[in-house]
């Protein structure tokens, strides 16, 4: 059990009468990158938000580091988890540096430690400190904003990272760039990552395992190779759409 950084046990989440998530059982291994793949309305983002209690489940249990997440203090839980979203959600009135330094500052790190960490983490996302630290979000491109969002999520060095389609709003070229960089990055950082996407290429590229969701239920968990070879009826639509790109993956893997 302690191998699971995050675990869902019989979790159901309802709005009124409608169940957005039904009887979900899922374990995320420590140190792995788990992709939550599905179409709109599949429940993948809901699942993500149940982890850091942006949504509160009423049925079942969600364990983080072995403890039910309702036993955790919500604020401590969230600071233990890095969070990056599609629109980045950078504070428009903060500079890049101030945005990235947010959680370390809230956690009371001393100034020099914060400065060092900000520099380090901006380097990780390939944004030179001298050029970008004092810029405001509105002066950045979409891709740059996502990098800052990622840097911000990593700043306090949380063991768990939740990412909600972070590259979804970018143009295909920038998206591919960031996907490649993230693939390289996750090898350097040993974090547990839960990554929501509807893009099968991204899932295959970045995931150690892929959890396929549809209509609020988990349809199966696959390694990328298993996924490609699967004959499962829920997997088929993704593969058909993907067939042409298979060769690119084969040559790059």
């Amino acid at each position: 059990m302690s191998d699971s950084a995050i675990e869902f046990i019989n979790v159901t989440y309802r709005i009124g009468n409608r169940a957005l998530i039904s009887d979900l059982n899922l374990a995320v291994h420590r140190g792995e990158t788990l992709m939550l793949l599905g179409r709109s309305g599949s429940g993948k983002t809901t699942t993500l938000k149940l982890i850091n209690r942006l949504l509160e489940h009423e049925e079942g249990k969600v364990l983080v580091d072995g403890r039910s997440n309702v036993e955790w203090d919500a604020i401590k839980l969230r600071r233990h988890i890095g969070f990056a979203i599609q629109e980045a959600g950078l504070f428009p009135h903060y500079t890049v540096r101030q945005n990235v330094a947010l959680v370390p500052r809230l956690e009371g790190w001393d100034g020099s430690r914060i400065d060092a960490r900000v520099k380090e983490v901006l380097r990780l996302v390939e944004l030179p400190y001298d050029q970008f630290a004092e810029r405001y979000p509105k002066e950045l491109s979409g891709g740059q904003r996502q990098r800052v969002g990622l840097a911000r999520a990593l700043a306090a060095d949380p063991p768990i990272l939740l990412m909600d389609e972070p590259f979804g709003a970018l143009d295909p070229i920038t998206r591919a760039e960031l996907q490649q960089e993230f693939a390289g990055l996750k090898k350097k950082l040993s974090k547990t990552v839960v990554f929501v996407t509807h893009d099968v290429t991204e899932a295959l590229l970045l995931g150690d395992r892929i959890a396929l969701m549809d209509s609020g239920t988990l349809k199966g968990i696959f390694t990328p190779l298993e996924f490609i070879r699967s004959t499962d009826k829920f997997v088929q639509p993704y593969i058909s759409a993907f067939r042409a790109g298979l060769q690119i993956l084969d040559s790059g893997a």
Partner: protein
């Protein structure tokens, strides 16, 4: 006597009445901000109260000022002192723009920004002070600006019930049928409203620059 000469010979009186007017406006605006901003914040947290609070302040604003003064006169403690009564009425008029703009400003914070803030572990208080209020500040100042200009205007009517201020010149001038006296009240009052508006517009603009 020409108007400029009038201002010179009655300099002291003009200054006294202007000071009284500033005080009426100042205290009322401080109260309106002290009550209105927290109420606006409350409304952003409890949408169920929205129609009640906004509805109530809307009604208060709809009552004509002279009528409101008259309605409040019989109230104990308040009605026995005209300036107290005037300040209460002026505060009531200033509340709606302040409450509404605070609420709208905070509600207008981008959803992704709010989601990211909460997701990263900001407490409600940190969210309010470090994200919502700074981002809503220019809209809130706009509300304060509207409220201040209204208050300067309504305060001239307060002289009718004995609260002093520049309106006293206006009413006196009407009784004396003397234009100089009327203008001695009307011009400073108009200037006060304009300068307050200008000043707060500058504040508003500087906030927009740094916060968006």
């Amino acid at each position: 006597m020409s108007l400029p000469d009038f201002f010179v010979t009655h300099k002291r009186e003009v200054l006294t009445l202007t000071a009284e007017h500033l005080w009426l406006v100042g205290v009322s605006m401080l109260l309106a901000i002290a009550i209105g901003v927290p109420l606006g914040i409350l409304l952003s947290r409890r949408p169920a109260w929205r129609s009640l609070v906004l509805g109530a302040s809307n009604i208060m604003q709809t009552i004509p000022s002279l009528a409101l003064f008259g309605l409040l006169l019989p109230v104990p403690w308040l009605g026995s002192r005209a300036d107290r009564l005037a300040i209460l009425a002026l505060t009531m008029y200033a509340l709606l723009p302040v409450i509404r703009n605070t609420y709208v400003g905070i509600a207008g914070v981008d959803a992704p920004v709010r989601e990211a803030a909460i997701g990263m572990g900001l407490t409600q208080r940190q969210l309010l002070w470090q994200v919502e209020l700074p981002l809503a500040s220019s809209v809130i100042i706009a509300g304060i600006r509207t409220a201040t200009v209204i208050t300067v205007g309504v305060a001239t009517i307060a002289a009718a019930i004995g609260a002093g201020g520049l309106g006293e010149f206006i009413f006196r001038g009407l009784a004396m049928v003397d234009n100089n006296v009327i203008l001695a009240g009307a011009i400073p009052a108009a200037l006060m409203a304009l300068s307050a508006d200008l000043l707060l517009a500058l504040v508003q603009r500087s906030l927009v620059r740094t916060h968006h």
